[in-house]
Symmetry: C2
Subunit: 109 residues, 2 copies
Amino acid sequence: MSQHALNQVFQALADPTRRAVLERLGAGPAAVSELARPFDMALPSFAQHLRVLEDCGLVRSRKVGRVRTVQLVPRPLKEAERWMTEQRALWERRLNQLDAFLLQQKEKN
Amino acid sequence: MSQHALNQVFQALADPTRRAVLERLGAGPAAVSELARPFDMALPSFAQHLRVLEDCGLVRSRKVGRVRTVQLVPRPLKEAERWMTEQRALWERRLNQLDAFLLQQKEKN
């Protein structure tokens, strides 16, 4: 995943409406009107949030007749998660090394 | 972790300079001047990135004499990672259910 793609995904996740939409879509695809219902927001503002999600590839939408249906695309979220998991692995290894070093020092004294 | 805290952490992660700083800090604490060195950026701009990281609790800094040292604080990153992992668990369960359903339909026919 490119730096630019990571920027976009994390930017998309930095908003509670967009996170709530992703949480809802985890349960299955939904029509835009259904997705918008829980939010006290004008439809154009809501559509803008969907556009952000679609631009970074986190969701995909399809219009059939008058109904636009939105579904989750797991891959970008997985790749952003991978960045976080890798970072955690790195610092946990360092902390373990530090622990081992401190223990060694303690045993010496 | 509150919605506001999640907003802030994802916002902080949505920038390649800030991610690179976190990656570097995974290897251990560092002075601001050392952290800034790889970036072709004026120091005030770099300091602004550090402020964003510090405001959302991803790093902590301490000034001793004339040297400010920065260290990683793993917890907010862990909690943001948890949100992502939970989402993934939800949709993977749904996809598994869908698989099972499709298999069942196939066996019926």
